[in-house]
């Protein structure tokens, strides 16, 4: 008989192995799904995982797009992972992302059509502050009133979406847009446009910021005393308190970092790839980043790889829709499987299977 037995220590091998196993299982079950839908499963898997990087026809365009898609995911996920390590669950990065975009774009548009070099840095700061301030609401409510940050941050996403709809059709609306909603297009305004730094690479400031965040988070979590405090708070809250760690400060710090990074991501996206603040401009990065954070084991390097993998499934999934006529829902299912199998294989990090003999009756 098979039985799950708790391990005395989480297994290091399984921690590293489970994401790889999850990807393999996703390919296997996804392949079966695609076959049932009438597509050649090998062709489909190849289109999703191989073509965006290596296909002659597409890769010239899709390879840089991987960075464009992964940049905000990584940036947000890094912020979230710091909080998650401390047991602070910011589920509302999507809202902070939206507020960052609104504040960043708004700060710039207030000076339209200035061509000062200070415009873009100003927008960046405003974007980070916008996301930070939005994250401070659950932080302060949690520390002062003991509310649950999961609920508050999540509900604030819907508030942010409503504010976005309002400013896109009012305050920030393009005055030359014939009454249609949506801000001015930043691609037509050099001083504020988050352009590709090297043509054809997809590298914009947001991608650079994501890489910097990966390094900074690595240093913070493994070399800095605050990183130690954060981990301690998550793993042993009582011990942390005895060690003199102030839980209020940790909450403020973690939500603040994740909010500011999500806000920056929103600002980079609005002024770069998206080009404008429009009613529907948020595309779920804040939620997908939660998956990326866990897929990357809350580890900065892991998140970097997970973000790129997630971007690959998005872009490859689009190609599979386009070239093989697979329905969009099948691709979403495929992405969902990835998290499902990760959580499933994660069981083996903390438990092991034991074969037990049937006991004599």
């Amino acid at each position: 008989m098979l039985r799950l037995e708790k391990r005395p220590q989480p297994s290091r091998e399984w921690t590293a192995l489970s994401p790889l196993l999850a990807v393999a299982l996703t390919m296997l079950v996804g392949g079966i799904l695609f076959a049932i839908l009438g597509a050649n499963p090998f062709e489909a898997i190849r289109t999703i995982f191989w073509d965006p990087i290596f296909s002659e026809q597409f890769s010239g365009f899709t390879r840089p797009q991987l960075l464009v898609k992964a940049g905000p995911l990584i940036l947000i996920a890094i912020g979230l992972s710091i909080g998650f390590k401390a047991g602070i669950w910011n589920i509302g990065a999507e809202g902070q992302y939206i507020m960052g975009a609104i504040c960043g774009a708004g700060a710039g548009l207030a000076f339209y059509p200035s061509d000062s070099v200070l415009i873009f840095p100003l927008m960046l700061i405003a974007g980070a502050l916008g996301g930070w301030a939005w994250a401070m609401i659950p932080a302060i409510l949690k520390t002062k009133l003991g509310t649950n940050e999961i609920l508050v941050s999540l509900m604030l996403v819907y508030v942010a979406e409503t504010i976005l709809a309002s400013v896109a059709s009012g305050l920030l609306r393009n005055p030359d847009g014939m009454g249609f909603p949506g801000s001015r297009n930043f691609k037509e305004w050099d001083a504020a446009f988050n352009s590709e730094l090297i043509t054809g690479t997809g590298m914009h400031w947001g991608v650079v910021a994501a890489f910097i965040a990966v390094i900074a988070a690595y240093v913070l979590m493994s070399r800095h005393i605050q990183g130690f405090n954060i981990r301690l708070t998550g793993e042993a809250p009582r011990a942390a308190r005895f060690a003199g760690v102030n839980p209020t400060r940790i909450v403020i710090l973690c939500l603040g970092i994740s909010g500011a990074l999500a806000g920056m991501a929103g600002m980079f996206e609005a002024t770069g790839p998206a080009g404008q603040v429009s009613i529907d401009f948020n595309a779920g990065y804040g939620f997908t980043a939660i998956i990326v954070a866990f897929l990357g084991r809350l580890n900065p390097i892991g998140i970097l790889l997970a973000g790129l993998l997630m971007a690959l499934t998005y872009i490859g999934g689009e190609l599979a829709q386009l070239m093989l006529g697979l329905p969009g829902a099948a691709i979403q299912l495929f992405q969902g499987m990835l998290l499902f199998f990760l959580l499933a294989t994660d069981v083996f990090t903390n438990y092991r299977l034991r074969l037990t003999k049937k006991e004599a009756v």
Binding site: N40, F58, T162, I279, D280, G284, Y314, G325, P327
Partner: protein, 357 residues
């Protein structure tokens, strides 16, 4: 052999070469905002795509991508379609406007058709339908049918197209029922069954016995059915499954003829950019069967209204009309010009709500 297995076979056959589509057929691509099974807006665009396949058979190949958000993702989806070798690409939602223009600039040999936008280029044409003509007929039926004199309206986004619809429905409801009141709920989505159902329930709870919708799912129909004595109208698609009650009629978008025409123009090399805005007369806007839940005389007058719009004898926006703030808009007998309609950002007199901004 269905289309998917066919495509897979073709793709498998060309597994070595990277270009998966044959070059002798013209390829028409479609970018969709919702799923093709939404039963409304995207469903009808997909019907148009199927009409193209039907019309040209082997000479055309169609591809589509569904659920494409109006974000940075749109530009990528359109670019990939162009890279894959599409000859003409229809982008079927307003938010694809700037992405379509941006991609079009990079692919001068590919033709682009953007639905409901206002920016054109040498290789970007725009097209839309005069849905407001259908709204007039809806408003006429709604004004006649309401007993509580409260009409609920589920609006998507405060853009001219939606505001035109509200005005057209209101004017023609008011014409037959001076006591009628409109409550507008802004859902800020084109397709979100849960939100749409909530909006419908809220309107019904507040006494509305007619619910009009400018969102794409059938959820409001289901909510009305659940509530009982409430009538609705199919949006974008006939939504006949919900007839004869609550769905008493519908506005049907009929894109097929336009798509067939434009793809044909690409085939014979006569495609040129332009702006098409067709209504009931050429058949781009259809009025779905008016069900028996509507009294015969109301049905007859509604059809008469439809015919007078189709023949050009009557314009949906004919003066005297005032704006909401009481200022004059159209003098007696004057009709609205397309420019004003295209950018309409005001309510007509009598609507009590404000346009959110």
């Amino acid at each position: 052999m269905n289309r998917r297995t066919l495509l897979a076979t073709v793709a498998a056959a060309t597994i070595v070469s990277t270009a998966a589509w044959a070059d002798d057929a013209v390829t028409a691509g479609f970018i969709f905002i919702g799923p093709v099974g939404d039963g409304g807006w995207t469903y009808e665009h997909n019907q148009g795509r199927l009409a193209v396949e039907e019309a040209y058979g082997d000479k055309v190949k169609t591809v589509y991508q569904e659920n494409v958000p109006e974000s940075a993702d749109a530009e990528r989806a359109i670019t990939q379609m162009a890279l894959a070798g599409a000859d003409i690409i229809f982008t079927t939602s307003f938010g694809y406007m700037d992405p379509t223009l941006a991609v079009a600039a990079k692919f001068p040999n590919v033709k682009f058709e953007h639905a409901t936008g206002y920016k054109q280029a040498d290789n970007v044409a725009t097209y839309s339908a005069r849905f407001y003509e259908g709204r007039a007929v809806q408003g006429h039926i709604a004004g006649n049918m309401t007993k509580t004199n409260k009409i609920g309206y589920i609006a998507s986004f405060p853009i001219p197209e939606v505001i035109r619809g509200i005005n057209a429905a209101y004017i023609h409801a008011k014409e037959v029922n001076p006591d009628v009141e409109f409550s507008v709920v802004w859902a800020y989505t084109w397709f979100d069954p849960a939100k749409e159902a909530d909006a419908a329930r809220a309107l019904i709870e507040n006494g509305a016995d007619v619910v009009l919708q400018h969102t794409d799912s059938t959820a409001p129909q289901a909510a009305a059915k659940e509530a009982g004595n409430v009538i609705t109208f199919g949006q974008a698609s006939d939504m006949a499954d919900y007839g004869p009650m609550p769905r008493v009629s519908s506005i049907i978008d009929n894109w097929g003829p336009y798509y067939v025409d434009r793809v044909g123009a690409v085939m014979d090399g006569t495609w040129t950019s332009g702006n098409t805005w067709d209504g009931i007369a050429p058949g781009m806007v259809g009025i779905g069967e008016i069900s028996d839940a509507v009294p015969a005389e109301v049905k007859a007058s509604a059809l008469a209204l439809k015919d007078s719009i189709a023949s050009g004898e009557y314009h949906t926006f004919t003066g005297p009309l005032k704006k909401q703030d009481g200022s004059d808009w159209l003098a007696d007998g004057e009709t609205a010009d397309d420019g004003t309609l295209a950018g309409m950002n005001f309510y007509v007199e009598g609507i009590t709500a404000d346009i959110p901004n």
